[in-house]
């Protein structure tokens, strides 16, 4: 058995764990960049009403005298066809996109994880078969098409879009957790706990689940960006956030008509989208680094 030379520590205190994790995270400068980017984006999203110069830009507001103005001092990102400040709209668009991600994750992650835990723990029984076959069915449906179908039945708004994405998103978590649970289940420390007499709930949530946590968290951070992209694609085709609410995708979509003359209407939201996705991805990489166990 590998006996690592790390096996001693001096005056160990509880919060040293946090320090150690920070050390592992911060070794790669890109993770720090991701963290800073995400913090800035979150700050902008939360405090949008207080920091934007033209809060009316997200309401039904028109001011044709200011329309289609290129980037300048009073309108750093220019204005759109209705004369609304692009910068303000972009910042508010962060809000909408992030909200969409969080709601989708809030629904799909607990659902997927719990189903995956149960299916994995009862591997081989009818419980496993039912859960995993349902997962397979949902996985085989193309997400965009299902979203379009749902949105054509139900009223077209942001909530419907979020539900449409959630219906399919949980399956990935279920599969991922299922894989980990089936491999962890056979380890001796789990059997040990069973032999001591621990109940099933305890074993599922306090012994097995912590072993899946690191990959779940990593996937969540990567998913934030992915969901925003899917939401943006849906906005591009007319679903998702409805006007006048701005969403990064819808801003890009409405701006394409005016390329290349009024380039600022598409380019700035586009860059913002890239930055959001990239920021969360880098952060996710950094979090993944924390879960790596170091040995010599």
């Amino acid at each position: 058995m590998k006996n690592s030379v790390f096996s001693q520590a001096l005056n160990f205190k509880k919060w040293e764990n946090v320090q150690r994790n920070w050390y592992k995270f911060s070794r790669n400068y890109l993770s720090i960049i991701g963290l800073i980017t995400v913090t800035i984006i979150l700050f902008l999203a939360i405090f949008a009403p207080f920091i934007t110069a033209h809060p009316e830009a997200v309401a039904r507001y028109v001011n044709f005298s200011e329309a289609k103005k290129p980037p300048c001092l009073s309108y750093p990102f220019g204005t759109d066809t209705f004369g609304r400040d692009n910068l303000t709209r972009t910042i508010y668009a962060f809000r909408v996109s992030l909200l969409m991600s969080f709601v989708v994750l809030l629904i799909s992650v607990p659902m997927g994880v719990i189903l995956g835990l149960i299916a994995g723990y009862f591997q081989g029984t009818w419980i496993d078969t039912i859960i995993m076959r349902i997962t397979d069915i949902f996985l085989s449906i193309p997400p965009l098409i299902l979203a379009l179908a749902i949105c054509s039945i139900f009223p077209r708004n942001l909530l419907t879009t979020m539900l449409a994405i959630s219906i399919l998103w949980w399956t990935w978590y279920c599969r991922m957790v299922y894989g980990t649970v089936t491999s962890v289940k056979g380890e001796f420390f789990i059997q040990s706990s069973e032999l001591i007499g621990a109940g099933k709930l305890h074993i599922l949530f306090r012994e097995i689940l912590p072993n899946c946590l690191s990959e779940i968290i990593t996937k969540i951070t990567l998913d934030v960006g992915a969901i925003i992209l899917i939401g943006s694609s849906l906005s591009f085709v007319g679903l998702g956030a409805q006007p006048p609410t701005a969403d990064l995708g819808s801003m890009i979509a409405s701006g394409t008509k005016y390329l290349p003359d009024y380039w600022w209407m598409t380019v700035f939201p586009g860059i913002a989208l890239v930055i959001v996705v990239l920021g969360f991805n880098l952060l996710g990489d950094g979090i993944h680094d924390i879960s790596v166990v170091e040995e010599i």
Partner: protein, 332 residues
């Protein structure tokens, strides 16, 4: 002293045997065929003593331990603990019973959950069997357990991967002793550890046995260690016991050819030990796969004293001298 319920399961012991195993069989069905991991085994463990089980890989010794503790349901035969039949799986056993029989496993790397702190690992058996009511008492008990295995108190904040293999094994032992058991199964507890840590742990185990009147089923492949630890020894080969005797008799007069082969393969350090080893037997051949057990006596393919009958008829266990049992045609 360990605190806890002193109500023990079962009644007064017969012959002072706390554990009796009779005709134990455990077969596994695999793709390659039926693996007869444990194939008709008898032995008993006396209260307060250490019974040693020796064998190489494929012998089934770990399977015996797992069957006793309830990980596997025996395919046949019976296991009796304190005169009570316990031959079923862990989920069908009473909580009282789970408190009484504990197991310490071989690999310190996988016996502790890497995502739980040592505090949480030691807390589990105490919580499950509700030995203490409030958190403060539980913490005290855990710190006492750590002190018992000579680990510093602030280890409760650590995680298993932060401590060395020997220390992890000590945590496993502390966990096993947390519920005040009567029978502890030790499945190669020190095989993965260095000699000096092994000495420490073995001495600790012997001390605990005296202090708490524990009975041990000690499994290992190291005969030198067995000599110093066990009061009775049994050798297993491919699911069957070859020889079973009290330790002193066993080493004074080893009979079975496999025993002789094992003894002569041990690398020893001192002249007196070298003289002690049987000289003639050189180890030959590979251990057959448990799926393809040779007919007749399972050892005949490697035995230097092979006779005609050995490849046809499986020998029966016979008592050669009082208390010394051998399963070999040479002595029947």
């Amino acid at each position: 002293m360990l605190v806890g319920s002193l109500k023990k399961v079962g009644t007064k012991l017969i012959n002072n045997n706390i554990l009796t195993v009779k005709n134990l069989k455990k077969y596994f069905v695999t793709q390659q065929g039926i693996v007869k991991a444990v194939n008709d085994i008898d032995f008993s463990v006396k209260e307060g003593e250490t019974f040693g089980l020796v064998g190489e890989s494929g012998s089934g010794k770990s399977t015996v331990a797992y069957s006793i503790v309830g990980l596997y349901k025996p395919t046949g035969g019976e296991i009796t603990y304190r005169n009570q039949d316990i031959s079923n799986e862990s989920k069908k056993r009473s909580k009282e019973l789970k408190k009484e029989i504990q197991i310490v496993s071989q690999d310190p790397g996988t016996s502790l959950n890497p995502m739980r702190s040592i505090y949480q690992i030691l807390e589990l058996p105490i919580q499950v069997h509700t030995l203490f009511k409030n958190r403060k008492e539980r913490t005290q008990r855990i710190k006492k357990l750590l002190k018992m295995v000579e680990l510093p108190e602030d280890y409760i904040y650590k995680y298993p991967q932060m401590v060395g293999g020997g220390e992890r094994q000590m945590v496993s032992i502390a966990r096993a002793l947390a519920t005040n058991p009567s029978l502890v199964l030790l499945d190669e507890p020190t095989s993965a550890l260095d000699v000096s840590i092994q000495a420490k742990i073995i001495n600790m185990l012997i001390q605990f046995q005296k202090d708490f009147n524990l009975s041990y089923l000690f499994i290992t492949h190291d005969l030198s260690l067995m000599r110093n630890v066990a009061s009775s020894v049994a050798i297993m080969y491919l699911g069957k016991i070859c020889e079973n005797a009290k330790t002193s008799e066993f080493f004074r007069n080893p009979l079975h050819p496999y025993t002789l082969m094992l003894l002569s393969s041990i690398p020893v350090l001192f002249e007196e030990e070298e003289k002690f080893k049987p000289k003639k037997v050189k180890s030959t051949g590979e251990i057959p796969s448990p799926v393809n057990i040779p007919p007749g006596c399972s050892f005949h393919s490697r035995c230097l004293e092979k006779m005609d009958i050995c490849s046809k008829v499986d020998p029966v266990m016979g008592e050669v001298t009082k208390g010394h049992f051998v399963r070999c045609h040479l002595y029947n």
